[in-house]
Symmetry: C2
Subunit: 187 residues, 2 copies
C-alpha cells in the first residue's frame, strides 16, 4: 500500500529517493541489530531524519520490513544475474559469494537470513523469497538439465550459508565450490 512511483514527473522523484534512503537505513539496522531492532525510531536515527518521516513513507513497520526484504532480494538477484552474464565459471563465483558470508559479507548474510525467516510467517513476502531461490536455480540450470540436481543445488546453497553463519567464519571458497559441484554432479 501507499505505493507511488508510477508517475515520472519531478514531484515523486524526491520521494522515491527518501524511500530508498529509508530502506537503506533499515537494512543497516537489520545488519547491526537484527530484524528485532527495526523500529521507526531506530531507522529514523540511522537515516538522520525524524520519526514521522518513516511513518510517512511506510505506514506500518511491516511495510518497511517488506520493502527491506524486497530490496535485499533484488540486490541478490542482481548479483547472481551479473555472475551469470559475465563469469566464465558461474559456480566458482557463486561459491565465492556464499563463502563471503563468513567474512566481510557476514552481516549482509545475517540480514538476509533474518528477513527470509520473517518471510515464512508473512504470506506477502513468500513470493519474494521464492523468486530469490529461483535465481539460484537459474544458475544451476546452466550446468545441468536434471531438475532434481537443481533442487539439490538450491537446497545445498541455502544449507551451506546457514552452516557458515553458525560455524563462526571458517569458509574456504574452494571448499564451498567443491560441495556445490558435488551437488550438481550427483548420481
Amino acid at each position: 500500500m501507499g505505493d507511488e512511483g508510477t508517475t515520472t514527473d519531478g514531484r515523486r522523484v524526491r520521494g522515491q529517493r527518501r524511500r530508498a534512503q529509508i530502506i537503506e537505513a533499515t537494512l543497516t539496522v537489520v545488519r547491526r541489530d537484527g530484524a528485532a531492532g527495526v523500529t521507526h525510531r531506530a531507522v529514523a536515527k540511522e537515516a538522520g531524519i525524524t520519526t514521522s518521516l518513516t511513518t510517512y513513507y511506510f505506514a506500518t513497520l511491516d511495510d518497511l520490513l517488506v520493502a527491506a526484504l524486497t530490496e535485499v532480494a533484488d540486490t541478490y538477484t542482481e548479483h547472481i544475474r551479473r555472475i551469470m552474464d559475465t563469469s566464465d565459471d558461474p559456480v566458482r563465483d557463486f561459491a565465492a559469494l556464499v563463502a563471503a558470508s563468513a567474512g566481510e559479507g557476514r552481516e549482509r548474510a545475517l540480514a538476509e537470513r533474518e528477513l527470509s525467516t520473517l518471510a515464512a510467517r508473512r504470506p506477502a513476502l513468500r513470493p519474494v523469497a521464492r523468486r530469490w531461490r529461483e535465481r539460484v536455480a537459474d544458475l544451476a540450470w546452466l550446468r545441468t538439465s536434471d531438475p532434481r540436481a537443481v533442487e539439490v543445488f538450491v537446497a545445498v546453497s541455502e544449507g551451506l550459508c546457514a552452516a557458515i553463519l553458525l560455524d563462526e567464519g571458517r569458509a574456504d571458497p574452494e571448499h564451498v565450490r567443491a560441495v556445490l559441484e558435488r551437488a550438481l554432479a550427483g548420481g
Copy 2:
C-alpha cells in the same frame, strides 16, 4: 547464569518443574507468534503464572530464549537418535520428519528456524545449533563414509526445510526422500 539444578535434594525439584513449564510456555509462544512475540508477560500468561516468576527463573529474556532453543535442539536430537536406533530405513523416516514441516509440524519447524536464526547472533547458542547439525550428520554417516557426501546431506536437509517453509505446504515425503538420497549418492 543463575543455574541451579546440581543439587538433587527435594528443594530444587519444584523449581526445575517450574523451569520446564516456563520453557514449554515459551515454545508455545514462539510457535504461535514467533520469537519476536516472546515477552515475560506473554510467556507468563501462557503458563498461567505471574510475570515475576519468569524473571525469577530467567533473569533476562535472553536467558529464556537460550533455554528454549536448547530445549528444541534436545528434542530434535532425541528424535533423530530414536530414528537411528529403531528404524530399518533411517533416511526414509528422516525425510518424513522433514516433510512434516509442511503440515502438522509446520509451527514446530518455524519455531526451530527462528530460534536457529537467533543462534547466529548469540555465540552462546552456536554450540547448541552445531550439535543439532552433527546429529543429522550422524544419520548420514550410517549410509556413507564420504565426508563430503555427509556435508551435502546436512546442507540439503537444512535447505529443504527452508524451502518447505516458504513454499506453503507442498512437500511429499517421497520426494524429500528422493532428494536426500541423491545428496547421499553424489558423484
